[in-house]
Structure formats: structure tokens, C-alpha cells
Subunit: 461 residues, 2 copies
Amino acid sequence: MNNEEFRSYAHQVVDWMADYLENIRDYPVLPDIQPGALVDRLPAAAPEQGERMDEILKDFERSIVPALTHWNHPRFLAYFAISGSHPGILGEMLSGVLNVNGMLWKSCPALTELEQVTLSWLRQWMGLGPEFFGIIYDTASIATMHAIAAAREMADPEARTRGNSGHLTMYTSEHSHSSIEKGGITLGIGQDNVRKIPVDGAFRMQAGVLREMMTADRHAGKKPFCVVATVGTTSTSSIDPVPAIAAIAEEFGAWLHIDAAYGGAAAVVPELRYILDGAERAQSLVVNPHKWLFTPIDLSAFYTTRPDILRRAFSLVPEYLKTAEDPRALNYMDYGVQLGRRFRALKLWFVMRHYGHEGIAEMIRSHITYAQKLAGLIRSDPDFEVAAPTPFSLVCFRYRGSDEDNKALLDKINASGRAFLSHTVLNGRHALRLAIGNFATTWEDIEEVWELIKQSARNAP
Amino acid sequence: MNNEEFRSYAHQVVDWMADYLENIRDYPVLPDIQPGALVDRLPAAAPEQGERMDEILKDFERSIVPALTHWNHPRFLAYFAISGSHPGILGEMLSGVLNVNGMLWKSCPALTELEQVTLSWLRQWMGLGPEFFGIIYDTASIATMHAIAAAREMADPEARTRGNSGHLTMYTSEHSHSSIEKGGITLGIGQDNVRKIPVDGAFRMQAGVLREMMTADRHAGKKPFCVVATVGTTSTSSIDPVPAIAAIAEEFGAWLHIDAAYGGAAAVVPELRYILDGAERAQSLVVNPHKWLFTPIDLSAFYTTRPDILRRAFSLVPEYLKTAEDPRALNYMDYGVQLGRRFRALKLWFVMRHYGHEGIAEMIRSHITYAQKLAGLIRSDPDFEVAAPTPFSLVCFRYRGSDEDNKALLDKINASGRAFLSHTVLNGRHALRLAIGNFATTWEDIEEVWELIKQSARNAP
């Protein structure tokens, strides 16, 4: 393929992309496909001779598209919807062609400096001070792993050379994301040393119990080194009491990390900035623009007030990557595991500029309004109950029936192809999760799904 | 922006992309820019009101492009060139619009199954057996970290729950990539427990010394748990003696990981498949299609014969992600830290199909031929010397002068904007690195750079 053929194919692909977004409501949200069907359909070996691109694109439509779960669908309401947007996609297209790697400032100054600029912009939108240094990782799981590693570096600087000392303990709520426990496992802290603090009736970490457990551990000769609080948990979007937790972390000299991967986006809305109250006392925080800031996957924004410690934990510069020292030339590879760093800031820059602060805030506000309106409809229906508070755009609810009824209801809704919801278990009972995050989702979509839910429940076997 | 406006902007962006690739030789490879210049140029805060996309695209051209290091430039010969290609870019465009997340089979069956298919295809091209299970990570640094974590799980299954025991030791050559040592640091093994084995005259790990060090550690009560051999080191592209290393690793019951991030691509060429001799005895191997297989960043292919151990090390499934068990529905999130997983296999599928096995092999062959021809020219020039063997497409060489002369030479070449080379230090002496990997690089490009090198050396101050 030469450049002119590429131009022609790329225009063809763009028309497919625009048609796809235009007709997205015509696709079933979840594909009707059995595991292994695509593997069975595709050749067992790659071709020896090259193939024409138009044939490959036809196969993409014929084989790949019918096996897609359509995260773009406005009625994709499972997990936390990954929400792309038009300017974000344009940014991905340009990143794809530029194909730069921002391991060092020198390896792509534009990437490094636009990352600094966009993360400073986002920090301001969330009401965080300039003491927060920003870096983009791929996912919140990786960001959180780096936070815990920095916490270890602060608590036990010898761990870097000698390995873990074995007496470190970390704390998070029983409702926090699995990535926190996985971070503890990966870093060699050990699952047994990840304490799960019970939650209150609104699924928030009980700060009093946190203090008790940290005290008990200290008395037992352990070193409490890290506390992870969540603003917007995955099951229910509950908000841990960050100010109280921050005070306890300070008392013990532990690193406080805020997992605001989903909820942090809401702090961009001026009247909701309070959800990050106390975060100014944290050593680090993560928010995922690919979750609720209209930026295509992947882009996780990590902030820390202690970049010096993060750098001490991870910097390791081999000779072939040594560059002249310049205080303004930031080498992001010094702040993490990964050397390969895509040009992720570009899509965020496009999104932030195209919508502006007001445009983004308005979209987030409308998602929260839809969620609250839906929670109201659910509350007023005798067959259903709301299963958790709705501080953001996630609604947890139950059909007033058995767990099996709720499971069957979810399967029925998802099998319809008209919506995709997920589930969780709250206080031992099965509940449905409906999370709004797509820029194209309208109130009519939510109403349609509510009708579908009611209908599916009433016609249940 | 609505879908029709998106269509129009996306066509405009495609024309820019095609023009960019067409005119890539007109750009200076390295930008003439001071650190901080872009930060200073861009607004200190994001706009409150949204802006028009055409204004933003103009700013992209005005502000971002002049600050880019052009990895696409055929005379970008630093590090290991990240080599995109036309079909790879088309794949990135579609991934950008689909915006799916392959954490679970259900969250996108097409992503999961195409990942299985493409990694099986690539495995066959490299001559690895079906016992190698494939998974895509973002980077080789992350892949290698997972390999070391799986090695820990095999050696000390209690580490997952109790944390590291403190007596594990791992082994790699003094020429191996920094990510291996960084993996040991991150996982809490400790830098002191990462043994660096000296290399021979051709920069290959000395297997005899490896056995001595492992034996000494075992006698001292340590547990040698992981050996990392490299096929294509970063400094010189040297190849460790994998069969001998594999025998030693087996003797000690240690996990053997092969870092073939760069060099592994060459195994796709049938007559070069021998470079992976012994790899069939390894527990894991990483190769980066984003390095030398014409796939845009990021895409790192990881293979392991022990997916059961990898899964045991990382699986942690919260309630909200539990799905029905089906042996054919692979949930890739169980095999690593990251939950967020972009649709990376799509671009690899496009690249493998469009070029075919023969097309890819031919491009890699030509890069190696250029490197060998260049090494020949260098050898025949009395002012220069080749500084290391050239098994792949990387040429290490020196100007016969002082280290300062070589540094000045490199700076002069890079300041010209006509080429970008990097450096390393071999046996204490400064050397230049010239790595060929771009699909658009021609022999004329290499000849032009050789003339530039000679001219720069001769006109040196």
C-alpha cells in the first residue's frame, strides 16, 4: 500500500466510522455469539501472501463487527461506560499516524509537554492545587499500583534495593476496586496484608474501624504504610469519608491514595467539587478520562504531590537512554514501569478544548440528572427498589423478588440487544447496575430502558 | 459536533495524515525546540467555552507538529524505531471509534478472540508450539514484569497471600534491558537480588558464570527463581546463548523468560528462526510487534507455557465482573494487572494479513541487509570501526577518536535534522547506535546517513 492507496482506504474507513456512529442504535448492544465462534470462523494460520486491504475491511465488517460488544451504544449501561467522543476519536487517528513514544522528553517533546499541559488543565478543573504533579498511565489499575509502590518507597526506602521487608500493611474498604488488592499482590505486599475495612449502610469506609485496624497492626509490629480511599466505588459509586480518612493516614504517616477513577470526573462540575474534599491532603489520586470524560480508552490521569518519591521508586536510566540534564526536560519514563508511552494527551487536549469546561460539566450534570430521575421512577414502582444511594450517574436497583429473579431479569434485558446492564451483590443480595456515561445517551434512552426493565420483569416466566 | 461534522473533520484529518506520510522526509527528524517551549506557548488553563474543531486542528499544526520527534521519518534510526505502517494506522482508526474494552470475553468477544487468533498466527510465524498461550500487554516492560511475577508464583506460591519471603534471586545479563531490573524492584524482589551476569566479547551472557552465581546463591540459602535471557539486547542486539541458559534454568527449577522484544521479530524470517533456538524450553517470551513488526505503538505480545501459573498470580474477580463459566470464554483480565484493555489485536490482524508472512519477512530481511551493508562500509573506512556484531538491523560503531569526539559527532548528526541516531557505552567507550526498522526506510536513506556521518566527522571542530 502506498500513501495514495492509504489515503483512499482511510477515507473509506472514515465513512464507515461516521456511518457506524450514526447508526449505532441499530446494533444489538451485546452480540448474539457463542464463545469460540470467531476463533472457529477465522483461519487457523496467517496468510503467506499479502491480501488486499479492501478484502480485509470486508472481513472486518463480516466477522469482527458481529462479535463486538458496542461500548458506543447509548444504551450500553454496564460497568462504567467507556465514553469516547468525536474529538477524542480525531485525536486517536492522529496519535495512530504520528506513532511517537514519549519515554524521554527528547523522544517526543510535544508528547511530554502536552501531557504536562493537559494534566495541569484537568487538575485545575478538579480543584486540585499546583502541588499535584500529573502523569498519564494506561489504566487506573496501573496508576494505583504505582501509588502503592510510591507509598512503599516512602515507608521503607530500603525496599527498592533489599526487597520487601514483610511487615507492611495497607488499607482499603471492602467495596474498593479489585485493582488495589491486586496491586498489593503484584508488589509482593501479599493479600493477607491488604486490610479490608467494612463499610457503613451507604457503602462508605468506616473511618473509625480504619483507625482501630491500623492501631492494632502497629501494636502487632506491622507498619501501616498506605490507605486507599475511593470516590465513586465500582459497585455503588459510594464516596468514602476522605477528610476523616486523611486525618488517620496523617496520624500514622501513611500514604493516602484516592481512587477517583470514575467519580473524580464529577469534580469538574463546579457545584460537585466537594466530592474531592480532603483530596488536597492525599499524596496521590487517579481519575480516568476514558471513563467519564469523553476520551477514548486508554487514558488514566495520575496525580501525586510527591513526584520525588515516585521517581525514587522507579527511576533507572540505562546508558542508551541517558540525555543531557535540563530541569525543564521531563523524562516521564523515570516515573513508572513503562518505557513505551503512546501520545495519549492529544485526544484529551482535543476533548477539553472542543467541549470546554462548561460543555463537559453540562454532559456530566445531565448524566447525573438522568440517574436521579431514574432512581425516582424506580422508587415509585412497587415492584422495584433502589439498592444504594445515587451520588453520581450509577443506579443500583433490585426487582422485589429472589436473587434468581434478578439474575433472570438481567439476562433477559441483555439478551434483548436493546440495552446492556451489569450486576453486583449488595448486603448479600443480587442487584442490577445501570451506569450512564456515554455522550450520546439521552433521557429517552433511559426511559426506553426503564420500560424494557419493567416489561421484562412482568413477563418473566 | 454531530456525526456529519465528525465525518467532515475526519476526512480532513485523513488528508493531513496522508500528506504527512507523503512529505515525511521534509520534516526535521528531531525538532529544533527548547525544553518548556510548548508549555510556555499553550494557555495555562483550559477554555471555559468549547472551541471549534478547525481552530484546534490549526493549533495542532502550528504548535504540536513543530515539537514532534518524527518516529515515522525513514531516517529516524535511534533506539529501536517504532515502525507503524499503513494497515496498522487503519487498524488504530477503527480501534479509536469502536472504543471497546476487552477485560472480559463478554465485554467484547471480538477483541478477546481476535487476540487469541492473531497471537496464535504470530506464534506460528516465530516457530513456537501451541503450548505457548498468548496475551497482549501494552509494553514489554509490563510483559516482563508479569513474567517475573509468574516466576515468583511458581517458586513461592505463598507470596501471593503472605508477601515476598525475601530470599528470591533472579538473573539476567549486564546488557539486558532496564525493565528487567525495574520489574524486580517493582515486585518487591529488590535490586540487590537481581544478579547481573557478565557478558562475553560479543555482549552475550556468560552461561558458565550464570551457573556459578546461581549455585553460590543456593548455597547461601537463596532461592534462584527466575532467569531472563535476551534475544536482541538494546545496546547491541546481541543474542544470549538461550539453549545453555535454558539447561541451567531447568537444573535449578527456575522460570526462564526470553526478552525478544526487538529481536523476536526476526524469527518470522524462516532462515533466521534459529535465533529462538532454546526458546521452546522457556516458560515465557515477549516480542513487540510495535518494535519491528510494522504495528503502531502500543502492542507487546507475551507468550507463556504456564498460563495456569500466570492466572494464579493475577486472577482476582470482584462480584461485579463475575460471568458465567465457559471454558471457551477467555477473560484476559485474569492474566494481568490491567482491566482496561484496548482493541490492540485489530491493527496486528490488518498488518499480518495485508503484508502476509512473505511480505513481513521481506521487509525484515531488507533491514538486516542494509545494516550489514552499512557495517561493511564502516569497516572499510579507516576513520571508523564497528563496535559490536550486527546480527539484526542495529549497527553499533565508533569514530576512531575520543569519547568526546563521538559525542560531538552524534550531536552534530542529530542537530542536522536529517537523521536521528542514539548512543550507548560498550566496554567503557562511547559508541553510536543506528537501528533500522521503518517500513519506508530505503538503502538510499542509509547511504545518505552514512555520507552525513562521514561529513560530520571530517568537518568536526
